[in-house]
Amino acid sequence: MNLTLRVWRQKDSTSQGGFVEYNADDISPDMSFLEMLDIVNESLIKRGEEPIAFDHDCREGICGTCGMMINGVAHGPLPATTTCQLHMRHFRDGQAITIEPWRARSFPVIKDLVVDRSAFDRLIQAGGYISTRSGGTPDGNAIPIPKPDADLSMDAAACIGCGACVAACKNASAMLFVAAKVSHLNILPQGKLEKDRRVLNMVRSMDEEGFGNCTVMGSCEAVCPKEISLDFISRMNRDHLKALWRSK
């Protein structure tokens, strides 16, 4: 199939960016979206033009490195799918595709489709962990955890930190990302000791990083490649309220 791409090109974080049109010809429906971009890049290099910069690594939907707005939707049209796992059979011959980087104040553009998501790392550093040390821990079976709790914790822990939730949100809020981490740890008995401190610090850090507020519209959940549920946001709000009350 043949496609027309409109791709955001931006030399670096301080330069003005803009859309540039490219043709993607002879694309096989079995290619992934990134393989399609590989083909375009190869032809650009052959023509002496700089290839389109985009982040990617595992290409199997787990590392969370890739991500772009495809026709205005984070990770493109297929639900529960990262950009690298999106295949061209979901597009039609002759289609025009607009490709942009994540758009959010807290994710500044580095180049073309590459953005700086280090704010997510700082959110985790603010409290997204259990303060255990290596060694000196009790036997793994010493802390039985009800299976439904372990499963729910795992549902939240499945977050890959790609940033699609922020990109999709009209306020560029990081609530789903933070709620997933807070819930993953707060649900487990091991995480309970630091429950209040964790949620207070992570929410505060979210504001400091310049992420917007949550209005619970659910755009984040709709694009999340791991289908992290909006319920975790309610759960975090509950934890946050209790923690605020207890800290007074």
Binding site: A53, C58, R59, E60, I62, I130, T137, G191
Partner: protein
């Protein structure tokens, strides 16, 4: 050069505890006087950086990804082994040790492997305490599954995302230490060379991938946790960024490269769909718990799988290996798949594929149980192939997955260059000629949480704080060499892209040095690689400049190193004139096609020494001495 593995004396089961009781300690107030560099932030690097910082060392951690959480350990699916014997099925430290030694076809160092099995139980405890949401039974206790090469159920898992969850555990421990100021993290920063001063590893030179700035970092010790080199085959299950550069640079600075020819081909990957293919996707080995592998009995049978009656199917793993069946170890299962495809019985486009069929398991256990166990893998399969594996069997084919070879290390995980430690997949030490499933995560975390943090103290205590100044001429010299190399890449302005060269190298390696190897093919590869390398340096086209984010430049550097490394890999494969584990020399096989070792000549670790760009490398042999196990032909029948 005399290779001293520094294996402690005493009975096998007591070596590690005795060693720990005798190595030197550094008092807590003095630890902060030592700087340690950790390169890589996967399971090994992340856990090591966090643990060293908890102990009080000043740590700098580097990764080329945009976040420490993205290291390729994250992609491990199936699980992590530990000799907990929670299933009461007769497991023990000794059994895990023996399975690993046997799985590695008796080419691993006994003492290292025993220690690995010993600390495996601590890893599970550690990860549970960190909040890793392992799968549980309704009792609330931890669940297990089985994996290849074992007859007990000892694999702990978190759905099909065990690597992700373990990595997040290590990443969170690392985040805690970064927040506390004990670790300085350098994401989007790639190590381009090792700096050795007076024979000791004293620092690294890196490139900031965003600004292009080249800078030096000095330390009292350097830890490489930079993963494997499976991308030498171009197509592999590795992430696109995985590369050999860090360990190859260390090799060129004097560290020995051990057993590079031990490369694991994983049997259950999604087959290649066309020339555009950029990587291959693994389907977890855990699928072989319930999936049955088969091909049509007759070659050239193009009926759909559901049309082929049971009696016309060949369940070849169950037929050839009745005791282990579909759970035969990876190297054996891969070769068996290749064999039936070579006979013309392969399925799917190009005939390079075999079926992995869940129909019987769905009938026995119900759709919901299968969905709960493997749901995410079935979804992934459907996304890539457009086929529903609940209705029609998956198609799978072997692909490059893991590399057992790596830098040579002693029992303390230190290379022959004092102060240079190598952990996780980057070293050679624990898996011999073939790694068992669910053992990579185990080794990465064992090295990072429980082994290196002890052993590094022994070296540092002897050395005392001795971090050189960045003004030292050696740093300047290495920085200049890197700048010259960058300029060289950018000035060639040839006609071919880096990808084209990488693809050509990969195809050559896969054809001549992949699942089956023979003398003629290896010699042919040894002739072709230097020619291809020369073409690369004359005709590659790298656009842009060095002072910005330049992904082509990063890639060119990595492929240039693969071009050199590939030659050593092939030379090692040619020199090892026997079959063992994943290294299958077609000249050496039993009448029924199994690998035939030659213990009298090859029961050694091949450690290669760099002797300059124009001289052939020197081979040093570390004899493998078995005190406990008896060398036997592996049998999974």
């Amino acid at each position: 050069m005399k290779l001293d593995a520094k294996i402690p004396a005493g009975p096998l089961a007591d070596k590690w505890s005795r060693h720990r009781n005798h190595i030197k300690l550094i008092n807590p107030a003095n630890k902060r006087k030592f700087d340690v560099i950790v390169v890589g932030s996967g399971l090994a690097g992340g856990s090591a950086a966090a643990t060293l910082s908890e102990l009080g060392y000043k740590v700098k951690c580097f990764c080329f990804q945009d976040s420490a959480r993205r290291a390729h350990s994250i992609a491990a699916q199936g699980g992590i082994n530990a000799a907990k014997n929670y299933q009461n099925d007769g497991d023990s430290v000794y059994r895990l040790f023996y399975d690993t030694i046997k799985g590695g076809d008796f080419r691993a160092r006994e003492a290292n492997v025993y220690r690995l099995a010993e600390v495996s139980v601590n890893i599970i405890d550690q990860c549970v305490a960190q909040g890793v949401p392992f799968a549980r039974e309704y009792s609330g206790y931890l669940a297990n599954r089985s994996f290849g090469g074992a007859q007990v159920s000892r694999t702990f898992y978190a759905r099909g995302q065990t690597g992700q969850q373990l990595l997040l555990g290590a990443y969170q421990a690392l985040a805690k230490q970064i927040e506390a100021g004990g670790v300085k993290m350098f994401p989007r920063t790639e190590m381009l060379d090792l700096v050795v001063i007076d024979g000791h590893a004293k620092g690294i030179v890196v490139r900031d991938l965003v600004t292009g700035e080249i800078s030096s970092h000095a330390a009292d010790a350097v830890v490489l946790a930079t993963g494997g080199y499976g991308n030498v085959f171009f197509l592999s299950t590795n992430a696109k960024g995985c590369n050999v550069t860090a360990i190859w640079r260390a090799y060129k600075r004097g560290a020995l490269m051990a057993n590079p020819c031990y490369t694991q081909i994983h049997p259950t990957c999604i087959p290649v769909s066309g020339d555009h293919q950029s990587k291959l996707t693994l389907m977890s080995e855990s699928l072989r718990n319930d999936g049955r592998v088969w091909v049509p009995r007759r070659s050239g049978d193009h009926r759909t799988p559901n049309e082929i009656p049971r009696e016309e199917r060949d369940y070849f793993l169950e037929r050839k290996y009745p005791a282990y069946g579909n759970l035969a170890p990876r190297d054996i299962a891969s070769r068996a798949a290749k064999e039936v495809c070579d006979e013309g019985r392969g399925v799917g486009p190009g005939g390079r594929g075999v079926f992995l069929d869940f129909a019987d398991a769905i009938e026995r256990l119900g759709l919901n149980v299968i969905r709960e166990r493997y749901g995410n893998l079935f979804e992934m399969y459907e996304r890539i192939t457009g086929e529903d594996a609940y209705q029609t069997p998956m198609r799978i084919y072997p692909a490059s997955h893991y590399t057992m070879g790596g830098l040579w290390v002693d029992y303390n995980l230190m290379s022959n260059v004092p102060g240079l430690y190598v952990i996780g997949e980057a070293n050679f030490s624990d898996h011999g000629a073939n790694r068992l499933g669910a053992s990579a995560l185990m080794q990465g975390l064992a090295d990072g949480y429980f082994i290196l943090p002890y052993t590094i103290g022994d070296y540092l205590a002897t050395e005392r704080p001795a971090k050189p100044s960045l003004d030292h001429q050696e740093f300047k010299k290495v920085e200049e060499e890197i700048a010259a190399r960058t300029n060289k890449f950018l000035s060639i302005k040839g006609n071919r892209t880096v990808t084209e060269f990488h693809r050509e190298l990969g195809k050559l390696m896969w054809d001549k040095c992949g699942m089956g190897r023979n003398e003629a093919g290896l010699k042919e590869a040894l002739e072709k690689i230097p020619k291809l390398r020369q073409e690369f340096w004359e005709d590659v086209n790298v656009l842009g400049d060095g002072n910005e984010l330049n992904q082509s430049l990063e890639y060119a550097g990595r492929v240039a190193d693969f071009m050199e490394f590939a030659e050593l890999l092939v030379l090692d494969a040619l020199t090892r004139d026997e079959s063992c584990g994943a290294h299958f020399r077609e000249e050496h096989q039993t009448p029924d096609g199994e690998a035939m070792r030659h213990d009298e000549n090859f029961a050694y670790v091949a450690a290669w020494e760099f002797r300059g760009p124009d001289a052939p490398p020197a081979l040093h042999k570390e004899p493998l001495v078995y005190e406990e196990v008896h060398l036997a032909q592996r049998s999974y029948k």
